[in-house]
Every structure is written in structure tokens, then in C-alpha cells.
């Protein structure tokens, strides 16, 4: 557990924080949106399971405009 002691949490915490924001907004949007490209439940899994990249992937290709 030496690693955890070494980590500079002042640097990591803000990153974790904005990552959570991204996740929360992706989830809110997925709930509100009517249609996505591909099934909604797949995107729910992608957003929740794939760390960082999941929500980004959802916004870039999963979200359907209009």
C-alpha cells in the first residue's frame, strides 16, 4: 500500500471530481433523452462500466441530436 501513500491526492482529487461530473451528466442525459444511437441499455452499461471513456463515448457517438 506504499503506492497509495505516495500518491499526491491534491492532484488526483480534482480529476476524480470532474470525472464524476462527466458521469453524472451522461446519466442524467441518458435518462432524459428519447432516442440514442443503438439501444439505451447498452449505453447505460457503457457509461457506468467503462471508466472515463464510457461517458465520453456516449456523448460523442451515442447521443442523437435533433
Amino acid at each position: 500500500m506504499e503506492l497509495f501513500a505516495d500518491i499526491n491526492w491534491a492532484l488526483i482529487a480534482p480529476i476524480l471530481f470532474i470525472q464524476v461530473i462527466l458521469l453524472v451528466i451522461a446519466v442524467i442525459d441518458l435518462i432524459k433523452i428519447e432516442k440514442t444511437n443503438g439501444p439505451k441499455w447498452v449505453w447505460a452499461i457503457v457509461i457506468l462500466m467503462v471508466n472515463i471513456i464510457g461517458p465520453i463515448l456516449y456523448f460523442v457517438i451515442g447521443r442523437r441530436n435533433q
Binding site: L11, I12, I18, Q19, F59
Partner: protein, 259 residues
């Protein structure tokens, strides 16, 4: 001019409603801090995993702050461009495909304003996102390695953003050219990536090519001198940006908005 701001406002409102103003900056920030963090912690991570046999010496030359910062730019060069193309490919094509463009363009809306307002809105979003991302990268690199002079950072941001603005302008040109957003995005991506590969392979022949801006930014960071051909390359980048936007307007005007 009033009409242009009405159109720009609509673009900003749309970007707020579909959360682009939140996820784009966050994504660019995450891309920016990824390399400083992983490079710094990589040896420790490997050690703690304990995959190394007893007695094996894990040698890895510590990269310089400049090298780490350049690695971050490499992220924007791949994933950043991908995100720009995929998130902006529908900006014109999507409105034409869905049919909204018909309602808008039977109003006395100038084609110039229609295209340039979209371009300006996307440009502002991307430049702001890139700035925040590069700033985060600069700060994390500074804390974990060494601080690059802020002036040098600003110069690299300025030059590199010109390259991404050119990419954006090309994406918008493709979006005006094709009715299908996906076609626009793919053509834009393939063209940009092929040009960077060609630019990289024939560096000595294509010294004024916009694709050299990233290598020149890197050179500037490491040698602290301006590369010889950086200003002609910058000039050509700006000229091509203007040409792409004008061409987009021209093509869009000539296209019929039929179903």
C-alpha cells in the same frame, strides 16, 4: 450583424442543451492530465503490481517536462481530432438531412452568416476546451516534473490551436458538402489523418505544410528556438482556414435544399 449573433446564440444554446459545453472541456482536461500522471506514476504502478522478479532493475529514463507536455499534445492529435470530427460533422449536414435547414433558409438568412456562425461557435468551444486541457497538462507537468515557462506554454497553445481550427474548418467544409453526417465525418477524419502521415513522412519536402505545426511546436519546446519554417507554415494554415470556410459557404449556397 444582428442576424449573425442570433444564429451564434442559437448555436451556443444548442451546445449548452446537449452538454457540449460540459463534456468537451472535461474531455480535453482529462486528455491533458493523462500523460503527466501516468508517466509519473508508471514506475510505481509497475513496482506495486510486483511483476518484476527479485533483483531486476527497472530502468526508465525520467522524461523531461517538455517531453511529457508534448505527449499530451499527441493525445489531442489523435483523440482530440477524432472528437472534433465526430461532434461537429452534423453541424450543417444534420440540419439539412433532418429538414430544419429548410425552415431556416426560407427566411432571409444569409448563407454566409449561417455557415460562419456555426464555424465561430464551434471554434470558440474547441479553443476554450483546448486551452483548459493544455493548461491542466501544463500545471500537472509542472507539479510532477518541472514548470515550463508560461510564455512558452502560451506560444505552443497559440500555434497548436491554429492547427485544430484548420481541422475544424475542414470538418465544417465536409459537413456542407455531404448530406450524411457520417460521410462528412469519415471523409474529414481520413483526409486529416492521411495528411498528417504524409506530412510526417516527407517533412523535408513539406516544410510549409500545416501538418508541421505540431512538430514545430515540439521543436520550439525542446530547443527553445523557433524552427525556420514555422511562420510560412502558420501563414498557410491561416490561409487554408479562410479558404475552407469560404468554400463551405460557396458549396452550401449552390446545393439545393431539396429532400
Amino acid at each position: 450583424m444582428k442576424q449573425w449573433f442570433t444564429l451564434l446564440n442559437k448555436e451556443f444554446l444548442e451546445m449548452a442543451r446537449n452538454y457540449k459545453w460540459i463534456w468537451m472541456p472535461i474531455t480535453f482536461i482529462l486528455l491533458g492530465v493523462m500523460d503527466p500522471l501516468t508517466t509519473y506514476y508508471l514506475p510505481e504502478i509497475l513496482n506495486s503490481v510486483g511483476g518484476l522478479p527479485e533483483g531486476a532493475i527497472f530502468e526508465m529514463p525520467e522524461p523531461s517536462a517538455q517531453e511529457v507536455f508534448i505527449m499530451s499534445l499527441g493525445q489531442y492529435q489523435m483523440i482530440g481530432i477524432l472528437i472534433i470530427a465526430l461532434s461537429m460533422m452534423a453541424t450543417v449536414a444534420g440540419e439539412r438531412k433532418s429538414g430544419v435547414a429548410q425552415l431556416i433558409l426560407v427566411k432571409p438568412v444569409s448563407y454566409f452568416s449561417y455557415i460562419t456562425s456555426k464555424w465561430a461557435a464551434a471554434l470558440i468551444l474547441i479553443v476554450v476546451s483546448l486551452f483548459l486541457g493544455m493548461l491542466a497538462s501544463w500545471y500537472y507537468t509542472g507539479v510532477l516534473f518541472e514548470f515550463i515557462p508560461f510564455g512558452t506554454f502560451m506560444e505552443s497553445f497559440g500555434l497548436y490551436s491554429l492547427w485544430l481550427i484548420l481541422v475544424l474548418s475542414f470538418v465544417i467544409l465536409c459537413s456542407a458538402m455531404f448530406m450524411q453526417p457520417v460521410a462528412a465525418g469519415m471523409v474529414a477524419l481520413v483526409t486529416v489523418f492521411i495528411s498528417t502521415i504524409i506530412g510526417g513522412s516527407f517533412q523535408h519536402l513539406l516544410e510549409w505544410s500545416p501538418t508541421q505545426l505540431l512538430p514545430y511546436v515540439s521543436e520550439r519546446l525542446i530547443t527553445e528556438k523557433w524552427p525556420e519554417h514555422v511562420w510560412p507554415a502558420t501563414g498557410i494554415t491561416l490561409t487554408m482556414t479562410v479558404l475552407f470556410v469560404l468554400l463551405a459557404i460557396y458549396i452550401f449556397k449552390r446545393k439545393e435544399l431539396a429532400d
